[in-house]
Every structure is written in C-alpha cells, then in structure tokens.
Amino acid sequence: MLAEAIFFSAVLFTIGVIGVLTRRNAIIIFMCVELMLNAVNLSFVAFARAYGVAGQIFVFFVMTVAAAEAAVGLAIIIALFRHKQTVNLQNINLLRG
C-alpha cells in the first residue's frame, strides 16, 4: 500500500515537473506546480500512516501555504497581464543576459 502511494506520488510529481517544463502559459505552469505540491502531500499522508500524525500536520501547513501562495501568485500574474496583455511566458523576457 505504502509503496503504491509513494509511486503514485512520484508519478504525479513527475507529471507536474513535465508540465512546468513543457507549458508556456503562466497559469498552467502554476497549476502544474500545485500538482507537484499535491503529489508531495500525498507522500506525506502516506508516510503518516506509518509514522503518525506529523506528516498529516505537515500537509495542512502545505495546503495553507499553497493557498497563500496562490493568492499572491495570481495577483502577480494579473499585474503582469496588465502590462503585457498576455500570460504566455515566451513573450515575457525583458529581463535576460
């Protein structure tokens, strides 16, 4: 059971990574990151079954923080959209070198 959960979590995490690597839309990338976080949560929960409550508490922290992060992140993306009228990251490279 544990092994499957871990494996599933790893797969989910990898999907998230691949999403970040391949997509160009800021929102979708952010969603992929959220996917990765949830994969981690899954791991925590799975481990918590073996070790006790600490893992589950961790998951709560992660969820809370992710929510805060989402709020800030979306605000940033909107601010950017105001300047660029796009959230396609390929068009956003004022800063480079």
């Binding site: 990574v17 690597l21 160009r24 990251l89 390929q90 956003i92 490279n93 800063l95 480079r96």
Partner: protein, 741 residues
C-alpha cells in the same frame, strides 16, 4: 676607515718610501677629471675666430635657454661632411685656459711621482715580492674577499712609466690640438679619467680591481671615440668599441669565476701561489687562460674582436695615440704577462695566443696595405703590432712582449701624433677655404714634407722604427720576439705540446714565418704611407696649399721627445749581439722577479741562449726583410700618379677586398648583429612575448573567460521555460552526484 692600511706591507723594502704614495697616482688624474668635468658642465663657450655660421648654429642650439655649452660639436649647419674629419668648429670654452693647465699638469705630476717611485724601487735593489697596499675592503662576501688594493712590482712600474710618460706628452699635444674645440674641458676630463683607470688597471692587486680599470678604460675609450657624437658614425664607433670589448670582458669575467671557483683566490699573489698546484697543461688552467685571452682579444683588438679598433679612429687623433696605440690596447699584453704563471702552465693556451697573434699580425698588415685614411693605416698597423706582442707573450717570451709594448708605445704614439699634426695642418688649410674635402685621406695629401719639416723627419724616424730598421727602437723589440719564437719552436714546453693536433713546434715555426711576412708588409705599408703623405706632388688643392704649415710648438714638442724615445728605446733591452751599444738585457733583469719563473717554465728551465750564428741569421733575415719592404714600396709606388680622393677611380679585385677590410664588418653584421636583432624583435618580442605569452595565455585566458561568460549570458535567455529546464537538469545532476562516491 676608508683608507685603513694593513700591516701586510710593513715588512716590504718599499714600505716607508715614496712608494707609499702609490694611491696618489690614479687619484691625480681623477682630480683632473673632476675639475675638467665640472668645467665642462659650465655653459661657457666663447666664439672663436672665423666661421660665420658658428654664431648661427650656436644661436639655434641654445635659444632662450642660454645653454652655451650646447655647442659641443658641429651640427648640420656647418658639418664639414668629411667622414672621420678630426677638426670641428672653432669655439673656445671660456675656461679653456684652466683646462690647459689642469689637464696636463696632473699627468706631469703623476709622471714625476712615478719616476720618484721608480727611483725608490731602483734604490731598494732586489725586490722579489710585490709591494701590495690594501686600502679598504671592497667586496667581502662569505669566503670571498676582494680588497681595494694596489700592487707595485717591476711590471706595473714599467706600465706606469709608459702611461704617465707617454700620457703626459699626449696631453700636452692635445692642448694644441683640441683647445679650440667647444668640448675642450670635456675632452680633458675624459682623457684624465682614462689615465686614472689605466693606472688602476696596471696597479690593481687583484683581477677584480684590474677589471675596474679594464672596463673603465673601455668606458673612456667609448666616450672619446664618440667625442664628436653628433656624427652618427662616431657614436656608432664608440658603441661598437664598448660592446666588442664587453665580449672580451665576458671572457675575463669567466676566467675570474673559474679562478675563484677552483683556486679560491682572485688577488695576483694568491692566484700565483695557488696556480702552481694546478695540473700542468690541464683542461682547467687551459680554460682559464683561454677565457682570459678572450678578454685580451677584445681589449687588444686581436682576431676575432679586432674590428672595433679601426673604427675607433673616429675619435680625436691624440686619443688614438694614447688609448688606441700606446696604452689601453696593450692591456691584453699586460694581462698575459701579469698572468704569466697561469699561461706558462697551459701550453695549449700559449700556442693559441701565439697563433692568434701571428694571424692578426699578418691579417691586419694586409689590410693596412690598401687603406687611404692615414689614421686607418696606423690603426691596422697597431692591430698588427699588437699581434706581434701576443706572439711574444704567447710563446712565453714575456719580456719581449712587454719590450715591444714599450717601444711600440713610443713610435706608434709618435706616428699618431704626427698624423694628428698632418691632419691639423690639412684641416686648417681646408678650413680657411671652407672646403669640405677629407683632411685625413692620403690622396688629398702628398708633398707635405715641404710644409712641415719637423713632423716629416720625426715620422720617418717612427716609420723606420716600426719597420724594424736596425738600431731604431722597433728593431730590437721585434727582433727579440721573432727570435724568441724561433728558439721556442726548437725547444720548449710549447713545442712539446700539440695544438689542434699540430705539433707545437710547427705552430711556432709558422708563427715565426708569419711574423716575418708581417714585418715585410709593415715595412711596405708604412713606407707607402710616408710616400703618399709627405712625398711626391701635393694634391691638397691650389688654394688650400698656401695654408698648410707646421703645428705650434706645444704639439711638435712632444713629437720631438717621442722621436728621441723611438730612436733610443731599444737601449732598454739590448740583445747580447749588440753588447757594444750598452748594458745588455736591462729589461730582462728588471722583469725577472715577475715573469722569470714563468718564462723558465716555458723553456723547460733552459735559458734561451741561441748559438751565435743562429742569432746572426735571425737578425739578418729580419733586417733584410725590413729593408726589402721599404725598397719594394719605394720602387713600386708612384706618389706622382695618385689623384685626389674626389677623382679617385674605384678599386677592383683583391684591392677592393683589402680596402673593404675583407668585408669582415659586413660579415659580422650579417651573421651576428642582424640575426640577433631580428630574432629579438621577430621571435622573442613579437613572437614569444606578444604572440604567445600575452596573446595566448594572458589575454587568451581573459578572452576565454569572456567567451564562457557570453555562453552563460546566452543561456540566460529570459525564458522561464529555459530556467526550469536548467533547474531540472540541475536536479538530475545533484541526484547523479549522490551516486558517485
């Protein structure tokens, strides 16, 4: 503290005599140098007579700055054009009078002191050990101890007398010759400094102190050759002299290093003591002697380093007389005589010296045959005569070498000063008419005997002396050298040794033969010089002829004295054959404590007493050769057919080769100088320095870093996607690093 005497000399017979004042000898000319040197820095020229363009040139030179002394020499405005022309603008220095007094006076006093010391030495009679005076410690370093010390012995006494004696005469001559030159005090400063260094050279009690004088005289030679430095040729000649001499000095330095590394001593007394412990004829002592001889070839203008001496004629003529004939160039001979202990231990080195000497003698003599510049003839003659001296000292006839050194100093100084007198007259003549002809080319002379009787007579005396006509000074000394070589070819350690596989005796016989041949040529070219200069019709020019005339007494006076010495110099060391003339072998006896033992080592302890008939034959052949040479020249040469330089046709064939001195200078240029400069510039500087080290390594690493930086900047594309990719690659790399232990 500076002049702390050491007690070592206390027991010496000379202690407490006037010889204690030895240190004053070089100090006196040094004082002259200081005074004249300061005067030369005083901007104080006054315009001399004539030369309207002087004022113009002077004005151009000082401008508002008002540095009058700036007019050291002719500038482009009134260059007389003639290459090697001795006489320049007539601008007398304000303090010329003071220089005229100080310059010769210090020398005269020094000569007086030298004579006094000589008398003191005569007075104490037998003196086997040198009189060494230590003044202060010069270079103490560990086991090395070099003192500033002077050494007086019979050999240095001879040298001192020649230097101060002939030196005084030449200084006096210079007063007349140079006083209208704007650089007059500077000239005397250099000349005085030269004498000071020359005295240090012969007085030094160790090789390093000798070396001080050795390089010091080289410096003065450099300065005096380039005295009229505004002419590139003169400056070139000075530089050439210095650098070529440095090549020789390299040898001398190595010799010193070898001495110290193997004998642990550098003072003459110590070296002579330790030298006897060396293996006779061993590689070490041979190497020491050969390196030392390399030094001699530089200073004394022997093959292969003779090339600077003819060029050195660019200096004022009295300089040629003093430095490049009478004193400095003979330093090599002195050095070998001084190191006779070492050389007598190294037969191969001795043979080398002899061979080089003989080759130089004949080689220079052939070149002398075709020179037109009167001073160049004398220059090659000097080289040739120096070759003789080396034949002498090389073959172990040290006294003969020194003897020839002394007589040569007399007659060659006379010849040079005589030629100076001629040039002085020529120049004055051309100067009056404003002509730009060459005042030193014999083709522009001819028949001068009518205008300058005294010079003419005295020059003939010197010519006969150098040619080896009996009873003139050169006859005795040259004869002694040739005779010694011949005898040593028969039996001596040299004859027993082999040189490059050739038996030593053959080498010495060959040297003898070459010496004879050179004697023949000497007689020819000297007679040629006299004929072209003083005899036949005059070619100076119609207008100029009226201005030719004898030099003032201050110049002819020294000539007369030298003439007397050239006549009777041979009395210094009469051979047994001429015992009717006076006491025999005075110099032999005088130098016995210094070189006697070494000479005996060469002759295997046998006194070189030739059979009477052999000696007669030797002398006879030498005399015959000399007379033959004079006769050939007198018969073959036709001064009347000569045309002035300006109209002279080009030479052809062997004549041209001789006139161009076998193209040796050109060869050296091609083989040594140009490749060195070329490689330095092309390969070392542009290639290695700028090309490899700087471009490839230094700036290359900077370029490399900047290249990598560009790559980094390029990856930093501003794309979040790229960054994420790099991050993930980083993740994989970190995970990978965990698998490596």
């Amino acid at each position: 503290m500076l002049l702390q005497h050491e007690v070592s000399a206390v027991g010496h017979p000379l202690a407490g005599t006037v010889a204690e004042w030895l240190w004053l000898l070089p100090l006196l000319p040094l004082l002259g140098f200081v005074i004249n040197g300061l005067l030369s820095l005083v901007p104080a020229t006054v315009l001399g007579p004539g030369d309207p363009d002087i004022a113009h040139g002077a004005e151009g030179a000082h401008g508002e700055a008002g540095h009058g002394v700036a007019v050291h020499a002719h500038d482009s405005a009134d260059d007389h054009g003639a290459h090697g022309d001795d006489h320049h603008r007539v601008v007398r220095h304000r303090f010329a009078w003071l220089t005229s007094i100080v310059g010769p006076a210090v020398l005269a006093v020094a000569f007086g002191l030298a004579v006094a010391i000589f008398l003191a030495m005569r007075g104490v009679g037998e003196m086997s050990a040198p009189f060494v005076q230590r003044y202060f410690s010069w270079m103490p370093a560990g086991s090395l101890r070099i003192d500033a010390a002077f050494q007086l012995d019979q050999l240095s006494m001879v040298m001192i007398l020649v230097i101060t004696g002939v030196g005084t005469l030449i200084h006096l001559f210079s007063v007349g010759y140079m006083q209208d030159d704007p650089g007059y005090p500077r000239y005397f400063a250099y000349l005085n400094l030269f004498v000071a260094f020359m005295l240090v050279l012969v007085l030094g009690a160790s090789y390093p102190v000798l070396f001080v004088g050795w390089e010091g005289v080289g410096l003065c030679s450099y300065l005096l050759i380039g005295f009229w430095f505004s002419e590139k040729a003169n400056a070139d000649a000075g530089k050439k002299a210095f650098i070529v001499n440095r090549i020789g000095d390299f040898g001398l330095l190595i010799a010193m290093f070898l001495l110290f590394a193997n004998l642990g001593a550098l003072d003459f007394v110590g070296v002579n003591e330790a030298a006897t412990r060396l293996t006779f004829g061993g590689p070490l002592v041979t190497a020491i002697c050969l390196f030392m001889f390399l030094g001699c070839t530089g200073k004394s203008a022997q093959i292969p380093l003779y090339i600077w001496l003819p060029d050195a004629m660019a200096g004022p003529t009295p300089v040629s007389a003093l430095i490049h004939a009478a004193t400095m160039v003979t330093a090599g001979v002195y050095l070998i005589a001084r190191s006779s202990v070492l050389f007598s231990m190294a037969p191969v080195a001795g043979l080398t010296v002899t061979v080089i000497g003989a080759l130089t003698a004949i080689f220079a003599a052939t070149i002398g045959l075709k020179q037109w510049d009167i001073k160049k003839v004398l220059a090659y003659s000097t080289v040739s005569q120096l070759g003789y001296m080396f034949i002498g000292v090389g073959s172990g006839a040290y006294v003969a070498g020194i003897f020839h050194l002394v007589t040569h100093a007399f007659f060659k100084a006379l010849l040079f000063l005589g030629s100076g007198s001629v040039i002085f007259a020529m120049h004055a003549a051309y100067h009056h008419t404003g002509s730009h002809e060459d005042a030193q080319d014999m083709r522009n002379m001819g028949g001068l005997s009518r205008y300058m009787r005294v010079t003419w007579v005295l020059m003939w005396i010197a010519t006969l002396a150098i040619a080896g006509v009996p009873f003139f000074a050169g006859f005795f000394s040259k004869d002694e050298i040739l005779g010694s070589v011949f005898l040593r070819a028969r039996e001596s350690t040299l004859a027993d040794a082999s040189w490059l596989g050739i038996p030593g005796s053959s080498v010495l016989y060959a040297a003898y033969a070459l010496g004879l041949a050179a004697a023949l040529l000497t007689a020819i070219y000297m007679t040629r010089m006299m004929l072209y200069t003083f005899h036949g019709p005059n070619r100076t020019g119609e207008k100029e002829r009226d201005h030719l005339g004898e030099a003032p007494w201050i110049m002819t006076g020294p000539l007369v004295v030298l003439g007397v010495l050239s006549l009777f110099g041979g009395w210094l060391n009469l051979p047994a054959l001429t015992s009717f003339l006076g006491p025999v072998g005075a110099l032999d006896r005088w130098l016995e404590p210094v070189v006697g033992e070494s000479a005996r080592r060469v002759t295997s302890g046998v006194a070189p007493e030739p059979a009477h008939n052999v000696e007669l034959a030797l002398v006879g052949s030498a005399v015959a050769i000399a007379l033959l040479g004079i006769i050939i020249a007198a018969v073959r040469l036709k001064p009347a057919r000569l045309v002035p330089k300006a109209q002279a046709p080009e030479e052809h064939g062997i004549e041209r080769v001789l006139a161009n001195k076998y193209y040796v200078d050109e060869a050296y240029d091609r083989v040594v100088v140009e490749p060195t400069v070329g490689i330095s510039r092309g390969v070392l500087w542009k290639g290695i320095d700028q090309g490899i080290i700087d471009s490839v390594f230094v700036n290359g690493s900077a370029r490399l870093a900047r290249g990598v930086a560009s790559l980094g900047s390029w990856i930093q594309s501003g794309q979040v996607g790229t960054y994420a990719w790099v991050l993930v690659i980083g993740v994989l790399a970190v995970l990978g690093a965990f698998t490596i232990r």
